[in-house]
Amino acid sequence: MAEELKGVSIQCGANSQVIDLSQGETLTVGDIRKRLGDVLNIAPTALAIVRVENGEDENVDDDRAVKNGDTVQFVKQSGTKG
């Protein structure tokens, strides 16, 4: 059985982090981009997607607020070389 996510899951490329907002902190997608930009190598122009309750992915702007249980995916650019 899948364990319930305790926090906001942030994904970029192969990597991910969880931020716990249970202390009442409010956070937007733009805040996450700034806070985890270096850690997850999030490009300033990376598209952001939030998985909403029906399981669908929704493209969102940086002012979108997130809450515990959300999954935010920053779409990492495809590798150029081969």
Partner: protein, 228 residues
């Protein structure tokens, strides 16, 4: 099944042997493999590309594969894919393994595949220690998963150029540091995607992801199924 391998550098040169070994051993259906690349293997490529002779990459690779796997039909096309020749390079029903080093060619191939009714495109790319594999499947005139340009503006609006448009001097300058292990990982994940897609097409498996990321610096991989 007609398999087209486009780009025989760091990724493409490594996936050829296991690909041919796999289809040679599978004994299921008829396979032909066409290798396509206008570039040349040179001594400076030996640090991370698999080849035994210098010369055009498609011709050198085809010769090696014909020798190692005489039961497989293998053809070489020693050209870069361009707007002018893509109609001859990729046809209905093809499975395309794309391991090129520029987004301009990815965009060109993706756009052409979207005009076909039945086609599979598996594209791999990498930076120094990370990369991704993208899968596009089109069946009976409809997208099973979105094209590789979906959510990827760097491919939809490429800032680089097709190698066919570059002069020799420019081509020589396009090289950036790469790691053989990163190329190998991209090649393995492309082959794994190929196996999954073959199972899907034969009705014996599901398409469980359409993009896979990997990062050798953290040891992580992550697969996602894109929906448009």
């Amino acid at each position: 099944m007609n398999i087209k391998v486009i780009g025989l550098g760091g990724i493409g040169s490594h996936l050829m042997s296991p690909l041919c070994r796999h289809i040679d051993a599978s004994r299921e259906g008829q396979y032909s493999v066409t290798v396509i690349d206008g570039d040349r293997y040179e001594a400076r490529n030996a640090d991370r590309q698999e080849f035994l002779d210098v010369g055009n990459k498609a011709e050198v690779t085809a010769e090696r594969m014909k020798r190692d796997f005489p039961g497989i039909t293998i053809e070489a096309k020693p050209q870069f894919v361009t707007q002018e020749n893509i109609f001859f390079m990729i046809n209905e029903g093809d499975v395309v393994l794309l391991g090129v080093d520029n987004h301009a060619t990815r965009k060109l191939v993706s756009d052409h595949c979207q005009t076909l009714a039945d086609v599979v495109l598996i594209s791999g790319g990498n930076e120094l220690t990370d990369g991704n594999v993208q899968i596009y499947v089109r069946s009976k005139g409809a997208d099973v998963v979105p094209p590789i340009t979906y959510l990827h503006p760097e491919i939809e609006r490429p800032s680089d150029r097709n190698p066919a448009e570059l002069g020799c001097e420019e081509l020589a300058q396009t090289g950036v540091p790469q790691l053989i292990f990163t190329n190998l990982t991209a090649a393995v994940l492309m082959l794994s995607a190929f196996r999954m897609v073959c199972a899907f097409l034969s009705g014996s498996g599901k398409l469980v992801y359409s993009e896979q990321y990997f990062d050798l610096a953290t040891g992580n991989t992550r697969a996602v199924l894109r929906k448009q």
